[in-house]
């Protein structure tokens, strides 16, 4: 009691700053204690959560499997299936359980094909889960909308195409990305029509994802990519160039050659790579004549093109560039010369005393390329 009184007196008599410091210290201490208690609770809760999720998962798994095997020839939906549908409807009302149901359905849907997959699809509709996904589209929060679109993509819900396609230029890039994936996953190459109206930049990441989705389809009929090659949206042009390369769109060569004079250097370099892949010989002469005006990256790309499409008429050009300043160009030029005119190549041995040249020459001379 005495020491307690002593403490109070001490504090009362201290300068205000010390009082403030002690009050702050007490405040911190209390917060620390609260946080520690909450931490214990949180960890326990998280651990518990995992157990609960596992339990529900098992439950819904067995519902799903029972449903899939409870069908019969006569009815559309058997009695047993109807029971399961009703049970799921009730559970789906709770958002926590709903998430688990959806993820359980998806885990299976992604692994199997055929009539089982279609049954899962039907269940998605019958249990009313689709209604919740649709309502998400109207949410004000962007990540809810995006998740909704994603779910609809996973369950192949084609009917909402019109509601989704209007979001293609949405300000939030995560939503745009989900919209694009939706269109392409469900409508394949037809879905690429959004490129006509896309005003925003399509990032490399998005492009790769779209291309991967497209590659998995049976029917690889590409629509006309020329309008996209002429687009004012540079990222659409880049994407179209990728399409041209992967799907060997030789028909588009004229549009691609026009890109050799595009404003963006990256696109010009890309165009050279694609023309090289497509073996477009006309491009070679255009670039050769313009060589000195090209940027270094374009020049290097051009030599890679030459490695693909050299002809004997290119010899003088190659000879002129064997001592070019850039390492990669020297390497390319000497490589090509060795292949089609080994005598000429050998005669170049003494042509330069620059150490880099000598190293490159020696390497090419002594190695099978």
């Amino acid at each position: 009691m005495e020491s307690y009184q002593y403490l109070i007196d001490y504090l009362k008599n201290s300068p205000p700053i010390i009082q403030a410091v002690w009050i702050l210290s007490c405040f911190f201490f209390i917060i620390i204690v609260i946080l520690i208690i909450y931490l214990k609770y949180l960890r326990g809760h998280l651990r518990n959560n995992e157990k609960v999720v596992a339990k529900y998962q098992k439950e819904y798994e067995s519902y799903l499997i029972s449903y899939l095997y409870a069908g019969n020839e006569e009815e559309e939906i058997s009695g047993e299936q109807q029971t399961i549908i009703e049970k799921l409807k009730i559970s789906a009302a709770d958002i926590f359980k709903r998430r688990i149901i959806v993820s359980t359905l998806l885990r299976l849907r992604n692994e199997i094909s055929g009539e089982m997959a279609e049954s899962i699809q039907k269940l998605y509709y019958q249990s009313g889960l689709i209604g919740y996904a649709l309502s998400r589209l109207k949410s004000k929060k962007w990540y809810v909308v995006a998740k909704g679109i994603r779910e609809l993509t996973h369950f192949h819900v084609k009917e909402v195409h019109d509601e989704i396609v209007i979001l293609v230029n949405h300000p939030k890039k995560e939503i745009r990305k989900e919209v694009q994936l939706y269109l392409v996953t469900l409508f394949h190459f037809e879905g690429l029509k959004f490129l006509d109206v896309l005003q925003t930049h399509l990032s490399e990441w998005d492009q790769i994802q779209l291309l991967e989705v497209l590659q998995h389809f049976e029917n690889q009929e590409l629509p006309n990519i020329n309008p996209w090659l002429k687009s004012t949206n540079d990222s659409v042009v880049t994407f179209a160039l990728k399409l041209a390369k992967i799907y060997n769109q030789f028909e588009a060569k004229d549009a691609i050659m026009e890109l050799l004079t595009h404003q963006q250097k990256i696109i010009r370099v890309d165009a050279i790579h694609v023309l090289s892949n497509l073996q477009v010989v006309e491009a070679k002469d255009i670039l050769k004549n313009n060589f000195d005006k090209l940027s270094l990256e374009e020049q290097i790309a051009f030599f890679k093109l030459l490695e693909n499409m050299y002809e004997t008429s290119d010899e003088p050009f190659l000879l002129a560039h064997v001592t070019y300043e850039n390492f990669e160009i020297k390497l390319s030029a000497l490589k090509i010369l060795k292949i089609f005119n080994i005598e000429k190549f050998k005669s170049l041995k003494e042509i330069s005393s620059e150490p880099e040249f000598i190293r490159i020459f020696k390497f090419i001379a002594h190695n099978q390329l």
Binding site: V21, S25, L35, L39, Q209
Partner: protein
Amino acid sequence: MNTSTVQIILLIIHLLFFIYAFFAIGSYVILAIISAVETLEYMKKNSFVNYKEILSSTISPSISIIAPAYNESLNIIENVRSLLSSHYVNYDVVIVNDGSKDDSLEKLILAYDLVKVNFLINQQIPTKPIRAGVFKSTNPAFEKLTVVDKENGGKADALNMGLNISNNNYVACIDVDCLLLENALQKMIKPFLEVTEETVIATGGVIRIANSCIIKDGKLLDVNFPEKRIVQAQILEYLRAFLLGRMAWSRLNGLLVISGAFGLFNKKIAIEVGGYDTNTVGEDMEIIVRMRRHMEEQKLKYKVAYIPDPLCWTEAPDNYKIFISQRNRWTRGTIETLRKHRKIAFNSKYKSLGLLSYPYWLFFERLAPVIEVIGIIYFVILMALNEVRWDYTVAFMLLAYLFTVLFSIVAIFSEELTFHQYKKKGTGFKLIMISVLEPLVLHPFILYAAIRGNIDYYFNKKKKWGEMTRKGMAKAEK
């Protein structure tokens, strides 16, 4: 000099300390808040991302993993195996044996069926020459592997050799004993491919501490919280630094350092600035500052990005001697980098790099230990003169201690709510314990190491890297 002048001087000194402390604490709080916001956003955005497509895509950009190795014979086979088992499709691995005096190369040749090949190197950055040669495997299962044996030149020099050799557009510079998770490359390359208006020049990742974790065949099987206090304290420190610090700097585009243990770079720009500096022990920080400076000077929009997911697990020092040596080196690295680039300090031409990042690093990282020691010396003098106001001292020290503990606990919370790596029962309690103990168990040694670092920098130029004894990761129980 009469007493009132002395009083005034003392008052000014106190005021300066006070102002410094105020700004330091203020900055920690602000950074913590920004970090929390950024992490939350990151978690939301990433709950969507599908990494599956990019890893199997042949169109995904190709990455070279460059791992310098010096006398790593004990674990090199395992480490290389781990690097070769990443799930990314388009990548290769370049191991640079930096003049090791042990049998690392022989072991590698045996384990991976290596043969010497003729290899033409584009010497874009000068390095020490090749020693035994360039080796590739005859076994198609190891076609991604290239081993280069060169004269010893240090980590920076070895990395530069890797830069010269790589044919890809992106290079991941990694410590060879770092355990890379299977999806690390996909996650790290994402920022490079996602941003549209700016160029990402480098991405850094979080380094997690692997001590006491179960690792078998290059895979992380189980995460355990270590028993040794010194390692526990480092885990706490990393959590604070990464979750409450670096996330904020990433958002502000002010990251000055990417951990040398794991970083992904735009190779073209790294070579353009001349590669790593072999004259510094803080080459990981120095190259970032130089790359940033280069982009500012070229007036190009750029970003240094940061991925908070656990991607890379490595061994932390578990005894004080090695720990001090490591922190000593970090201190010297910071001083060297800041001095080398002092031109950008407070220079508005360098925008946030010169006006925000550099000054922050200067005052609150580089100078903090010095100011703290000055404070201690001052306190000791006051004690000797019997001038100490004990009521102030006790009150303020208690406040400082409680603040530190509070901050640590907030860091623990961030970890629980985000990546929740330490799931086992009892770890929560251990984490709280170490939050309470860390200011006593670790901080004094950090301070000591930093002062040694300062002394060594100014008076002992010959010191370089110091030893790190390899203990080997904990093996899985059978």
